[in-house]
Symmetry: C2
Subunit: 329 residues, 2 copies
């Protein structure tokens, strides 16, 4: 497929007014933006007298309970399918087989959207898909309430690191200001989304910090999460996501490496870099890939072998970019 | 003194228009809000053709370099004195003796302001003093530029935890949106203010996490920072401030305790609580004080004795408030 028709907001409004039964799909590893967008759209469609059902490929983490009411269940055969914040049909996970080629409209803010849907309403300048849904609901003259406002705020806040990142614009803040007209309890949402850690994760963090090693005049920091640590603490999957931020927030570090054991002699390395280093180039030399500042690669061997491979690749990139001394430490 | 005249924004504008030489004081342990407010006001006064000097009681941390240009130096004897974000003259630190009783106007958003200045322009609904300075500069028809906008953004962002806390209002977001009209590089500011840690602090964090202990069915978490750890890592003073957040962000914890060694057999305990527990009540029983959710107390004895005193006080508060089982663990 990969040749969606481009939809403007006006096309999207027409599309929504025209149909009556909607399946709304979120992506797998659901986050605040896909869920906030999905549910806010759902509440909006219900207000318009439409039938709708939100389908998430995975169990929704309980922390999103602030805005998730029960969704209706509809006859999926009669419905048009809207995917929200889903840049690639592969991100539908368990739903890809059923819906991967059946998405009538994708509403998304990822510039990397692979155009798998029949129509695509894309705004790459939006900080979050929830920014787009906010504008869509306004244009549809939906009456906002606390629940809709909480859903949209959660999506915008989580996708922007609470208004921290470069994707934030004046518009993002204006929308947030407008959502404060409702009882969104933003401080409670932000506490749950950003400042709540499980005891087991804190225990894992302590173990991981014990593995910290510095290389190349402290320009590279490397931490490891072994299978043993995951077993001992009971942390896995999305629990581990935040740990990659440890190595990228250390002053002076240009390459932050987080190595996660995924099996016997199997590891996944996540790399975060700052200019002049290029995470994508480094991971590509090892068979992986990603973006300029964030990339990853799967590697086999012992932990020491894996570390050594990554350090060599970083060293090469440091030399190519004149990023400083690469005397191994 | 403690009987300031109340100033409205109009009174403040009159005051500023009337005088020509200003000393602007920030508080000790300078943060983004006191510095942002002080420097934004300084740039505004300069635009009005006034003479002004910003005086900070301590060396300004280098991370605030985003908006700090050199300040002029003026004859302090001829000047009127404005303190920004300084709730108590004791917070002037090294400047208290010279200026403590000489503050002509204090501009502040702390409800706890002790009214030490001759006049007080207080807006306890403002999320940051920088919110007030923004409105003041607008009312004075100051032409904003990147530097002023960065100063104000830094103050608002740092005092609200990047728009996370309950002090944020719709107005806070509207001001942020307006500041985005300038090249504030908010993502860079936020990275420096929130997501940059020194290697030594990370090393200290690792040591501190090793001291974590849980009590009362995990409703209390306690961590310790010994003098030995401070010496080994070279961390002290403001380096340690963020560590109190560790214990308050653990899921299920109602009382997070951070014990810092301040001398031989001398400790300072910082307590963070969630309802129904009351940090102020707990610390008061030990001779300390503070707010409902954040309080502190200085205690003497061995570390074990200090821990035991605090645990007893927490246990008592848990029993009084029926906060759950208090079987010591």
């Amino acid at each position: 497929m990969e040749n969606s028709i481009n939809f403007t907001i006006k096309d999207t409004i027409k599309f929504i007014k025209k149909h009556n039964n909607y399946v709304i799909l979120t992506h797998a590893s659901p986050d605040g933006d896909t869920l906030g967008a999905g549910y806010a759209l759902y509440y909006g469609l219900k207000q318009l007298g439409k039938s709708a059902e939100v389908i998430c490929p995975e169990v929704i983490p309980s922390k999103y309970g602030y805005f998730l009411c029960e969704t209706d269940h509809i006859n999926r055969k009669d419905a048009v399918v809207i995917a929200v914040d889903v840049a690639d049909k592969r991100l539908l996970g368990a739903l890809e087989q059923e819906f991967g080629n059946e998405v009538d409209l994708c509403i998304d803010h990822h510039i990397s959207n692979v155009r798998y849907a029949k129509a695509l309403y894309l705004d790459a300048d939006a900080s979050a898909t929830c920014e787009m849904i906010y504008e869509l609901l306004c244009a549809l003259k939906i009456k906002f309430n606390d629940t809709i406002a909480k859903a949209l705020y959660t999506g915008i806040s989580t996708d922007t690191g609470c208004f921290k990142y470069s994707c934030v614009t004046a518009k993002t803040h204006i929308i947030a200001a407008n959502l404060y007209a409702y009882n969104i309890e933003a401080d409670v949402i932000n506490k749950v989304m950003f400042d709540t850690k499980s005891k087991k994760l804190l225990t894992l963090e302590r173990m991981v910090l014990d593995t910290a090693e510095y290389h190349f005049d402290d320009k590279c920091m490397m931490i490891s999460i072994t299978a043993d640590m995951q077993n001992k603490t009971g942390c896995s999957g999305t629990d581990l996501e935040g740990l990659v931020n440890i190595s990228r927030s250390v002053e002076g570090v240009l390459a932050g490496v987080t190595i996660k054991q995924t099996g016997d002699n199997a590891y996944k390395a996540s790399l975060r870099t700052y200019a002049p280093l290029n995470a994508s180039h480094i991971c590509q030399t090892l068979g992986g890939g990603g973006h300029k500042n964030a990339a990853g690669v799967s590697l086999s061997g012992s932990l020491e072998e894996v570390k050594s491979k990554i350090l060599s690749a970083i060293k090469q990139n440091m030399e190519e970019t004149n990023a400083g001394s690469t005397t191994a430490q």
